[in-house]
Each structure stands twice: as structure tokens, then as C-alpha cells.
């Protein structure tokens, strides 16, 4: 891996040198190389075995304040020259953009600690198949109402990324990612339901056991059987942690620089204003060892740092790269490429505690569709979940929608659960929101 890293670093340096040679005043380049195994078993038999191997090379050149970019999957020296030439050609036609350019040299990361992101999993195809079969069997054997399966899939990928720019910054690190998932179908009275579960980690030995994954997948499917609609009404809504991640992601999308300078965000001009209740804190921890989204520098080479976005419910910082920052007259927050290991603070209740606190309302376990308008904050999604009375789940529900406005939903957040979803770069417990409109039969 060290040798491969040196090769890719050399490629990046060659790209930057070639860009300068072709007349660019500044340039940045990234190269990636990934390899992996993806296999699926279904009904106890191997269904697919895929060997993946992906290379990519991208270069952005600046001629003063004009920019051009090009990329290719071909890492040969000839392709390298052609790719740089293509990028330079584009820069002849793009406009002078006063905000274009590399991030400021003084912001480049200088310390590049090992964040322990690379944990190769020495797993043969046979061992992988065996794990997937154990996983699917656990799901299929749980209950006779599990009548069919979409299979169990095991993925194991190792990758290497190198980024450099003409400030002299160059960084690179290997990273691994492994996962196991299972989806099964249940049947009751002529109607079918499916659900799934997955486990994901940088370390193969930190995955949930195959049996656990299968069992949870089957339990989730079984719990949906007999789902029905509820009447149109207003009620409190509890977003289970895995779907609450999406709400937090919408918040992040609304404070992202590109949405702000385009005036395409419902949180435009909200810096310093209260947008969550006072007990909410949201921050990112980009240098977390073994973290799913950890990196010591962002996609422009800028040093990453722990940062609070929400403190006491007040918006403290936007999510900016250097381009958006210049557009807004601010400084980059080291978020080129997004947020890294974002966390919201939890209260004291787990999911069951939150159900009791809600008393009567809707527990949402699945969101469908893209009905989030980031310009206005209007929110309307299809959902499936459970109806709750007296703090206890009564029956599964489906074919209903929930609607409201994200601004009201964020302010209406009553509590965040301790049941934190950890399989995502954005992590949160379940969200209890005071009131939304449910549309049903």
C-alpha cells in the first residue's frame, strides 16, 4: 500500500507539473484507486460475485481567475497529458470569476496524523459467502412468515486517495470500508412487505454478527405486516434515528455555502439566529480516529478542525468551501467535500423513553421520495412506521405522508434520543418533533 501511495503521489505531482507546463497559474489534482469484493447470496445460494477495481484522476486548472476541469479513469501517462490539456482548453472559455482559485495557502493542513482509517479484511470469497449465508439463514429461519428473500450482500473495499495542489500541499491516505446487509420479504394475508438491515465499519471485525444483521432484517420486515393507513390529522412525530439522519442532512444542506450564495436555502441570513431549541448543540469531529468520514484535510487541502455549527440552538457557522466563502465574504470552514462526523447532542431518553414521552403519535421508520424544498423549507414525504398510543406501539402504518416546514420542525424538536445511529457520517439519535400534518385515508 505504501508503494501504491508513492505511485499515486508521483502521478499527482506529474499532473501539477504538466498543468504548470501548459501555462496554468495554479492547479489542483486528485487521484484515487479502489479495489474490492462484493458478493450476494440468495435463498442459500451464491447469486453474484463482483470483483471491483476503480481508478480515477481529476485535475482543475486556473489561468488567473478562469477555471477548467477534466477527469478520467485512465491513469496512463498519455491520458494524464490529454486530461490536463482538456482542462486547460476549458479554462480558455470559462469566465473571469473573482472568487475562483485554490484555497488560501496559509490554510493548508500541516499536520497529517494517521487517523487509522485503513483496516484491510483478509476475507476469502468462500469466507464471505459463508458469512452472507449465515446472515440470510438467520433472517429466513426466524419466522415462517418470512417467505422470500432479496439476499444478503457482503462488501469489502480498500481505497487510496491522494490530493495535491500548487501551493505545495500533498496528502494521501488509504481507507477501508466493509459492510454486510440483508433484505427479506414477509407475507401475511396476501400482502407482502420487505425490509432490510445493514452493518458498516472501517474494521471487518467491528461489524455486527451475520446472525444479528439477519435477525434484525427479519424482525423489521415482520413488524410491517398488517400495515394500514391512519386518518388525516395533526400529531407529534418521532423520527427513528436512522431516518432522523435525513433531517440533520437537510439542515446541513441548508447551511451549505453553495445553497446560501445562490439564495437557495430557507436558512439564508440566519447566522447568529436561533433555529433549534436552546438545548441543541451540533458539531463536527473531522479527525476522529477510525471515523467513517474522518480526514485531516478537506477536498482543497485545508486543515480540518472540530467545529460547532449550533450552540444553545443558535447557528454559529455555515458549511463552507473556499469558493462559497469568497462569494459570501467569509473564510472557508474546511468543509470542501461536506461535513465530517457530524453529531447532535442527545438527551436522556432512549427510543422507548421517547415513545412514552410522545404518548400518542406517529413513529416514522421509513421516508420515501424527495419532497424537501430547500428554498422554502417545505417538507412533504411519504412515510411508513407505527401508530403509537399511551406510549406504546399499536400497529404498523403505511401509505401516508407527513408534511410541515423544516424551519418549524427544527424549532419543534422536543428531544433527541440516546439511540445514536452510527453507520453514517452524520450521526443522531431519534428526533421527537412536536407536531406535523399526517395525510392518510
Amino acid at each position: 500500500m505504501e508503494q501504491r501511495k508513492a505511485e499515486l503521489q508521483q502521478l499527482v505531482e506529474d499532473l501539477l507539473r504538466e498543468a504548470k507546463r501548459q501555462g496554468a497559474s495554479a492547479a489542483e489534482a486528485g487521484v484515487s484507486s479502489d479495489a474490492g469484493l462484493s458478493l450476494t447470496v440468495r435463498l442459500g445460494e451464491t447469486e453474484t460475485i463482483e470483483h471491483t477495481r476503480d481508478n480515477g484522476l481529476g485535475v482543475t486548472v486556473y489561468f488567473g481567475r478562469r477555471k477548467g476541469a477534466a477527469s478520467t479513469s485512465d491513469l496512463s501517462p498519455q491520458a494524464l497529458k490529454e486530461t490536463v490539456a482538456a482542462a486547460c482548453n476549458f479554462a480558455r472559455y470559462t469566465s473571469e470569476d473573482p472568487c475562483a482559485g485554490l484555497a488560501d495557502a496559509g490554510l493548508m493542513a500541516t499536520d497529517l496524523p494517521d487517523l487509522e482509517l485503513y483496516h484491510p479484511w483478509k476475507l476469502s470469497v468462500e469466507q464471505g459467502i459463508e458469512q452472507a449465508i449465515r446472515c440470510e439463514n438467520a433472517a429466513r429461519e426466524l419466522d415462517p412468515r418470512i417467505v422470500n428473500s432479496e439476499g444478503a450482500t457482503l462488501n469489502s473495499h480498500d481505497g487510496l486517495q491522494v490530493y495535491g495542489n500548487t501551493h505545495g500541499f500533498i496528502g494521501g491516505y488509504p481507507a477501508s470500508r466493509h459492510s454486510l446487509s440483508c433484505a427479506v420479504v414477509g407475507k401475511q394475508d396476501d400482502s407482502m412487505q420487505r425490509d432490510y438491515w445493514y452493518t458498516l465499519s472501517r474494521q471487518g471485525d467491528r461489524l455486527q454478527s451475520p446472525e444479528q444483521v439477519g435477525m434484525i432484517a427479519a424482525q423489521r420486515t415482520l413488524s410491517r405486516l398488517g400495515a394500514r393507513q391512519v386518518a388525516t390529522q395533526q400529531a407529534p412525530v418521532l423520527f427513528q434515528a436512522d431516518v432522523a439522519v435525513g433531517l440533520l442532512r437537510s439542515f446541513v444542506g441548508a447551511i451549505r455555502g453553495s445553497a446560501l450564495y445562490r439564495k437557495a436555502s430557507f436558512l439564508l441570513d440566519h447566522l447568529g439566529r436561533q433555529i433549534f431549541p436552546e438545548f441543541i448543540e451540533i458539531h463536527e469531529e473531522p479527525r476522529l480516529p477510525v471515523g467513517l468520514a474522518s480526514a485531516a484535510y478537506d477536498n482543497e487541502g485545508v486543515a480540518t478542525t472540530r467545529r460547532a455549527f449550533i450552540r444553545d440552538g443558535v447557528l454559529e457557522s455555515y458549511v463552507l468551501d473556499s469558493y462559497a466563502a469568497r462569494k459570501l465574504g467569509m473564510e472557508t470552514t474546511g468543509n470542501a467535500g461536506g461535513v465530517r462526523n457530524l453529531r447532535i447532542n442527545s438527551g436522556e431518553l432512549d427510543r422507548e423513553g421517547l415513545l412514552r414521552k410522545m404518548e400518542r403519535g406517529l413513529l416514522v421508520t421509513e421516508l420515501m421520495g424527495q419532497g424537501v424544498n430547500m428554498v422554502t423549507g417545505d417538507y412533504s414525504r411519504g412515510v411508513a412506521g407505527f401508530w403509537v398510543e399511551d406510549g406504546v406501539i399499536q400497529y404498523p402504518v403505511e401509505e401516508i405522508t407527513i408534511a410541515g416546514n423544516l424551519r418549524d420542525m427544527l424549532m419543534g424538536l422536543r428531544e433527541v434520543g440516546t439511540d445514536v445511529e452510527t453507520r453514517s457520517s452524520i450521526q443522531t439519535g431519534s428526533w421527537l418533533i412536536d407536531r406535523m400534518t399526517i395525510a392518510g385515508g
Partner: protein, 480 residues
């Protein structure tokens, strides 16, 4: 058109010194007892994109991808490997990896033969140089100024122009040798309008398997700009959408995303072979109202979802999925067709050489009925008239689907009255289709912007329909 094969060989194989005999030999090594099918898929694609924002040409980018995918099938098992290097030793290594699902050695020789593609639905051109860089920039600027001069409330305009030149070559142990050259262009306009403290957005666009001149023809691109602004301004006046079950009238064209989600995905062969679709085992049954006939048609000239041949080398077809409400057939690729003992319908598609093919839609639409659109609206006392949509999603197994309206109006006493905010509509595919009660005579296909995602793979598709009425769908607004 065997010249397609020649173009593909010259574009992909010749530069790396591969000849047809090399493909024969590689395929021969993939054969053996227990091997039911195997193919090689070569691809070379070039993509170019331009973005105008804040009145300036902000980005121009170019991407080149090239590689080969090798697939070996035994019963229900598939082995797959791919490489972005096209040198023979690398390909042979990938072939060994793909073939490792089968034990035993190769024992047959293969002789591929070019099969004529029955028709040419689009010219085998590279659209990227069809306009000069200066002309492309000029086009973007004209679209920008057209949008801005529509109304002083227009505050932001983003225009993007994308062109792709995709050359593919497929060879299989059943003797198939086929190729396609697929141009694809797209232009999108997104605007933000502002009135007092209220901001709204609108977007429009179109595309086809054509050269960039398509956008200049009858000032088509300027029409997208006007349409995006019109939508955004309508939304400035929108009131809260209603909540609950009610009659819904869907406009013609892009609202056909209803069919894509409500029935399209559920009729893809893989889900039905596995028995995981709400439509599984229901061929010959009534699954929609008698006024519904739905087809998947990959043979429409120049359309975004059209293909001369699919990614397994099979000529695309016009496949009747539902005829007068009765389920007639599924969409198939070779693998699922073989296991279900039916013929492939030319729906085997893949995002790229690095992805496995599966049954996918092409252009899916509902055939016209007898009603005038005005009659359909007049038949509704209180309901929703939805004419533009964002995306949709479906759960194949339960049949539940959603699609999100981005431009909709209330119908009160048979008349379209006020615009309402965007809202998600939710229904159950097989149920919703039995509730279609009126179908208009105004069939329209979408403007050519559809992207369909399935199992992580994106492919371009088309949708269409005439105006139609669903007697009851749940509308996800806030106004009770």
C-alpha cells in the same frame, strides 16, 4: 447497421491492438460445462459539461471513461469483473476472476458474428463538437438572459449543458456481436425568484439523442428558460396544499413518472423471477382500469430512453406491459428471460462497463384515451391538478409509491382555481391503477431529462402519458 460495429471496433479495440479473434479466444476461455451465458462489454465514453451561474461561465469539465466488464453466468449465479485497462493480459485476469464461480475448464470455441441492427433510431455521432465552445457559451448566455428578462423578480439563474458520446461493443458466447453509438445531450435551467421575503424556485430542461443543434432548433433552449421562470412565479402565489385522499388529475408528459413508479419498476423481470414484486405471478390478471394500456418503448427515434440495441446487444422493442388493464408481460434481460423461460425484451441495461446489466425501463408511457383534458378537469368537484413533478420512488414488494408535485393547483367545482405548494402524492401501484377513471386524448412524452436509479445504477429514461384522472390518491399537504 454493421457499421456501428465497425465504429465501435475502431474506437475501442483498435487503439489497444485488440481484434475480433481476440474476443473469440477470450469468450472461448469463458465457456465450459455449467456455463449458461457469458459476455464481454466494452465501453468508451466522453462527457462534457458547462455551467453558467451568476451570469458567468463558471465551470467547464470533461470526463473520459473506458473499460470492459466480463460476466459469466451459471444457473442463477453470476461472476463479474471489470477493468479500466484494455490490455489483453489485464482482461484475461478479469475473465479468470469472473469465471471463478464455475469449477472446471473451458471446453468450447466461440465464433462471434456481427448481427445487423434492424434500424437506426439516432445518428452514430459524437455530439460534443457539434457546436464550437464559443457557440456553447453563447447558448448558455442567451438562455440566462432570456430567463432574466422574463421578470425582474428573477434573482438567480443556473444553466447547465451536458453532452455525452458513448460507444459500446458487446460480444457473448451465444455468438452475439453487437454495438451502439449513443449520443446524449441535456440542458437544464434552474431559477430562483424573490418577492418581498418570499423565495421560490423553478426548473425546466430537455434533451435527446441528438447533436447540440437540437437546443437551437426553434429556440428550444429559450423555451426552457421561460418555462422555469413561469413555474417559479406560479409558486410565489401558491397556498398550502391540501392533506388527505382526493381525486387527482395529472397533466400530460412528465407526470408519467406515475407509471414509471406505480407499475414500471414492479414489472421488471428480476423482481418477478424472484417473486418479490407486488405484480409477481399476475400475468393475465386485471391490474389496472380498462382504460389503461401501458408500453415500454425503446424504439422511439432520438428519445433519451431509446436504444438501437440494449447493453446485451438485443434490439430494443415496443413491449406492451398492460393492455386494457390486463397484465401482459414483464421487461426482461437475457439472464432473467432464460430463467423464466421467456424471450428477452431488449431491456438489459447497465450504467457502465463497471456495473452488471439488469432489466430496466426505456421510454414508458400510457396510450391515449378519448377524453378532452377540459372534460377530465370539469368532472372533479374538489381535487388536485398536478402538472409538474420532481422525482418518485417505489417499494416494489408492497407496491407503495410516491412522487412529488412541484407545480399543482386546486380543482374546485370543476375548475382549476389556485396554485398550491409542492406536495408528495402516495399510493399503492396495483390499487392506484385500478382507480384511473378517465384518460385524455393528449398523449405527450417528457422533454428528455429523466434519470432512473435502481440498485445504485443510473440510466437515462423517458416517461409520458395523456392527462388522466385517478379517483383517489393521498395528497401530502398541510391544509386539512
Amino acid at each position: 447497421m454493421s457499421d456501428l460495429i465497425q465504429i465501435a471496433q475502431e474506437t475501442i479495440l483498435a487503439p489497444v491492438g485488440l481484434a475480433e479473434q481476440d474476443l473469440d479466444r477470450m469468450l472461448g476461455e469463458l465457456t465450459g460445462s455449467g456455463v449458461d451465458a457469458a459476455d464481454l462489454y466494452f465501453q468508451s465514453s466522453r462527457l462534457e459539461s458547462w455551467v453558467l451561474e451568476d451570469g458567468i461561465i463558471k465551470e467547464g469539465a470533461h470526463n473520459i471513461e473506458q473499460g470492459a466488464g466480463i460476466r459469466v453466468i451459471s444457473g442463477e449465479k453470476t461472476g463479474f469483473a471489470y477493468s479500466d485497462e484494455l490490455q489483453l493480459p489485464t482482461l484475461q485476469e478479469a475473465a479468470r476472476a469472473a469465471r471463478a464461480i464455475i469449477r472446471g475448464g473451458a471446453d468450447q470455441s466461440v465464433r462471434i458474428a456481427g448481427m445487423p441492427v434492424p434500424r437506426q433510431l439516432y445518428a452514430p455521432i459524437n455530439p460534443l463538437p457539434s457546436l464550437s465552445e464559443t457557440e456553447k457559451i453563447d447558448l448558455l448566455r442567451r438562455v440566462d438572459s432570456e430567463a432574466r428578462q422574463q421578470d425582474p423578480r428573477v434573482k438567480q439563474v443556473i444553466v447547465s449543458l451536458v453532452g455525452a458520446h458513448d460507444v459500446v461493443l458487446v460480444a457473448a458466447i451465444d455468438g452475439t456481436l453487437s454495438a451502439d453509438v449513443r449520443p446524449l445531450i441535456r440542458l437544464n435551467v434552474h431559477v430562483i425568484v424573490e418577492q418581498g421575503s418570499r423565495r421560490e424556485q423553478g426548473s425546466s430542461g430537455g434533451g435527446a439523442r441528438e447533436s447540440f443543434d437540437y437546443f437551437l432548433d426553434q429556440e428550444r433552449a429559450l423555451g426552457y428558460a421561460r418555462e422555469a421562470v413561469r413555474q417559479a412565479l406560479v409558486n410565489l402565489d401558491a397556498v398550502d396544499a391540501p392533506a388527505g385522499a382526493m381525486p387527482v388529475v395529472l397533466g400530460p408528459g412528465w407526470p408519467g413518472v406515475l407509471l414509471h413508479e406505480a407499475v414500471g419498476h414492479g414489472l421488471e423481470g428480476d423482481f418477478n423471477r424472484k417473486g418479490t414484486s407486488a405484480f409477481s405471478g399476475r400475468i393475465g390478471e386485471q391490474v389496472a382500469a380498462g382504460c389503461c394500456t401501458v408500453v415500454d418503448d425503446g424504439t422511439l427515434p432520438g428519445r433519451r430512453g431509446s436504444l438501437n440495441v440494449d447493453d446485451e446487444g438485443t434490439p430494443s422493442q415496443n413491449t406492451v406491459l398492460i393492455e386494457n388493464g390486463m397484465l401482459k408481460g414483464y421487461m426482461q434481460d437475457k439472464h432473467n428471460a432464460r430463467l423464466m423461460k421467456v424471450d428477452t425484451t431488449g431491456n438489459g441495461r447497465r450504467e457502465s462497463y463497471a456495473h452488471l446489466p439488469m432489466p430496466r425501463m426505456t421510454n414508458t408511457y400510457l396510450l391515449p384515451g378519448e377524453y378532452k383534458p377540459e372534460e377530465i378537469i370539469a368532472s372533479v368537484d374538489r381535487g388536485l391538478y398536478a402538472v409538474n413533478f420532481g422525482g418518485g420512488q417505489v417499494d416494489i414488494t408492497s407496491g407503495r409509491f410516491v412522487f412529488s408535485a412541484s407545480e399543482a393547483y386546486l380543482i374546485e367545482n370543476g375548475k382549476v382555481t389556485r396554485p398550491v405548494k409542492g406536495a408528495t402524492l402516495i399510493g399503492n401501484g396495483p390499487e392506484a391503477m385500478t382507480r384511473v377513471s378517465m384518460v385524455g386524448d393528449d398523449l405527450k412524452l417528457d422533454a428528455g431529462v429523466g434519470v432512473c436509479g435502481k440498485e445504485g445504477q443510473s440510466v437515462p429514461v423517458g416517461v409520458g402519458q395523456p392527462t388522466l384522472k385517478v379517483d383517489e390518491l393521498t395528497v401530502g399537504g398541510t391544509e386539512q
